[in-house]
Amino acid sequence: MGNQYDAIVIGGGHNGLVNAAYLARAGRKVVVLERRHLLGGAAVSEQIFPGYTFSVYSYVVSLLRPEIIRDLELPRHGMQILPLESSVTPLPDGDYFAAWNDSDLTRRELYRHSAMDADAYVEFGRLMHHMARSVKPFLGMIPPDPTSLAPGDLMGLLKLGGHLRSLGAERFHALYKLMTMSSADYLDEWFEFGALKATKSASGIIGTFMGPRSPGSAYVLLHHYMGEIDGAFRAWGFCKGGNGTISNAIAAAARAAGATLRTEAAVKQVLVRHGRTTGVVLESGEEFQAPIVVSGLDARRTYLDLVESRELPDELLEQVRRFRFRGSSGKVNLALSELPDFTCMPGVGAHHRGAFSISPSVEYLERAYDDAKYGEFSRRPYMDIVFPSMIDPDMAPPGKHVASIFVQYVPYQINGGWTDAKREAFGDAVIDTLAEYAPNLKSAILHRQVLTPADIEKTTGLSEGNIFQGELALQQLFFLRPAARWASYRTPIRGYYQCGSSTHPGGGVMGAPGRLAAQRILADA
């Protein structure tokens, strides 16, 4: 019985690895089974063009829970977070809006666009800091079921009720607004400068099939504010070596704790006997036995692909079938002979060490959404661009560069279906749009990789290419993620658990689902 374990983790994405590391540290004999040839899921670094390293899918880090970094000693295992210094939004008139890593400098920049907004910016930041702190306790807890009378659920609800009461009227009302409004409407209450509102509201649409004027998008805005680095909220960083280094560090921590990590081991099915899991069988026919099986895959694969439907209650299957994925974002990765020279900020400078946001106005974003609403990719999309080689010189050969371009909207369900020609047309739209702001871009491209949601699904297994394993929409959060009554990492099959971003608190290289699921499993044992 060489394949006998205490726990099997399906999927070597960052949450699966976090889960395995925590279980192994608790003394469990754990194996992680990854379908691909490399670990990391959507947090991988690959040399898709020789000499040039890319964070192929996820590309920045902020939400990764600090307690995981400390518990698993990730810096000792090779993870190093470097600061992203700024965010620049080029404008069609040749000007720009920039937010720098210094409050005086940012105020001075914002002031030339709007003196009112320069004042409001500080107070808005303070309120969002409070909001992020208000929601932080939710992130670190297993969601209680509000309809349950079980002692654990009641205790959790009492704790939450007490927490909400302690917020005070001003913060509670602000939180209510964030939960119900669109990001554009919410920001309209604070600011007047269009590019500022657009760049901020872009945080509210990332990874969802919503526009900045869609109600509920304000919450996603907050979700992105919750990232903390060194205790400071709303701090974004870049992992040296790309996001694959995060996965590799977690994998190293898991290995050091005794976990076995197997690649090219695609799980075909979870084995169930008398309502209880007994292990898994691979595509190759190889079997693994364990009383605990944890799926790091998204809800659709966890429930609809890996187990036979007769093992699950109809109402759960129905909820999972309706769980919304609707991948809406793509990625363009470039190898470059030189950095893009932005018309608004000529030359190479500090701005290349930060992010560029193509979000000149809320109308621009909403129009980009309009295209997707009717089944087309945005002709002029929203983009978030970083140049990892400017932060970590190891990412490209000396003097050369890589660019990571996150693009939205690009629907999974495109009219007529995705073809190679359509993918390249989408890539052209991205490059054409960006070249309007940096005319030397086209001649600098040495290699171009274009990824649509269909490509992301095909390679990483993320259903419909949704980067969060399901939209971060309010009806899919907390005790409803991924389904009512099954938000506590358990499934109706005894011994079968879920630990991916489809569970609370959701996606974004956070690692929290993997850790919370491990807590649940260890408490159940």
Partner: protein, 402 residues
């Protein structure tokens, strides 16, 4: 215009003159501007010039707003804690302004330049707050922070220097009054105000002609010991004068992260800036309730007992080590072993020969003469020296108002 914002600190309109003078390169930040901590290597001579001759400070980083229109006085009166409607043309009022809970947002001066024209100067930006308060009023608000330079000319000989430089004599200009004047052909305003607690003036100068005025003033001051002064010297003088400083001694209620970080005017011992002899204004209700109940905190002076301070050092075979520059940090204050407050700034007063601090004390420990202990670190060990609550200002020369 691409690339408009350079990546260095803003400079004041007087930078071309101040930059060559700063021997120790002690630049520091003030509202995003580069200003001098001291021009000499140390601030000793600069401080002396404030109390002995005349000192020239570049205070251009102050935020300045021009408020005009039919409802200009109404706007300010509903915003601040003093009665602006009563102000005469040519009068300057020092005041605080509060949120609805009666907590201080900022403090500054309001100059009534004409019947319907005011200038507000403040420590922090207030453009948005003015606009929010101006809803429905017929008023124009202009941020003139960058277009208007400001110099403070302070010290016993400041009047003499100003009279030599200016077209109009300033002898008749009373304390907290403002007048039009002209220096080197430049139309300016002179107010008899300052942050040193001494005889002194502030000059409000169009940024484009700032250097002409600087040159004329320094030429006029040559025979009177006029010295350019940095922030360290100013800090010593304002501590001696018992003047509160935003972001050092208290936090704006708009920026404070938690309630205990906010202060009311009563808690800052600025009772005299709060009037109920006027219509509704921001915070009035809360302030009235607080006045009736009595403040929970007071802002006071603290004198550190020299003998006690010295003996802590002697115990280590050391001479007493005084702070070389004024400090701005939170230092615990105790009474009979229990913490009853904290000092927020402090310095050695070269004039009074006393170690002074400005402090916040809880009721009922703030009565003048109350014996306290202040934390002092000697040879890496935390000790407590005796100290005493003192009346503010520590130093108040008659010439200030004469």
């Amino acid at each position: 215009m691409p690339g408009r914002v350079p990546h260095n600190l803003k400079t004041t309109p007087f930078h071309a003159r101040t930059a060559p003078l700063i021997q120790g390169q002690t630049w520091r930040r003030w509202s995003g501007y580069a200003v001098a901590s001291a021009y000499d290597w140390t601030h000793d001579r600069e401080y002396s010039s404030i109390r002995n001759a005349a000192a020239l400070f570049d205070v251009s980083p102050l935020h300045k707003y021009r408020i005009t229109g039919r409802d200009a006085a109404r706007l300010l009166d509903r915003m601040v804690t003093r009665n602006v409607l009563k102000a005469q043309v040519g009068q300057v009022q020092y005041t605080t302004w509060c949120d609805a809970q009666g907590k201080v947002i900022d403090d500054g001066t309001i100059s009534r330049l004409k019947e319907n024209e005011f200038r507000l100067s403040s420590a922090e930006p207030n453009f948005r707050w003015l606009h929010l308060n101006a809803f429905g009023l017929e008023v124009a608000i202009e941020d003139i922070s960058d277009s208007l330079g400001a110099l403070a000319l302070q010290g016993p000989l400041s009047r003499t220097v100003l009279n030599e430089a200016a077209d109009q004599p300033v002898d008749a200009l009373k304390y907290f009054r403002v007048m039009d004047n002209r220096i080197a052909g430049v139309d300016i305003q002179v107010s008899r105000t300052g942050y040193t607690g001494d005889l002194g003036y502030e000059l409000w100068i169009p940024a484009a002609q700032a250097l002409e005025v600087w040159d004329a003033l320094t030429a006029a001051g040559r025979n009177y010991g006029l010295a350019p002064d940095g922030i360290w010297a100013l800090d010593v003088a304002r501590i001696e004068a018992g003047l509160v400083m935003l972001d050092v001694d208290y936090h704006s209620s708009h920026r404070a992260m938690i309630e205990p970080q906010k202060s009311s005017p009563f808690e800052l011992s600025l009772d005299w800036t709060v009037t109920f002899d006027k219509g509704p204004y921001n915070g009035r209700k809360a302030l009235a309730a607080e006045k009736a109940r009595g403040p929970l905190w007071r802002f006071v002076g603290v004198e550190i007992d020299w003998d006690s301070f010295e003996s802590l050092h002697v115990a280590h075979d050391l001479a007493p080590a005084l702070p070389s520059v004024p400090w701005r940090s939170s230092i615990p204050l105790y009474r009979e072993g229990r913490q009853v407050g904290y000092a927020s700034s402090g310095c050695w007063s070269p004039l009074l020969k006393k170690y002074l601090a400005l402090a916040h004390l809880q009721a009922p420990h703030f009565a003048t003469g109350t014996q306290l202990e202040i934390e002092i670190t000697v040879e890496h060990q935390r000790r407590r020296a005796h100290a005493r609550v003192s009346r503010l200002p520590f130093y108040d020369p008659p010439r200030k108002k004469a």
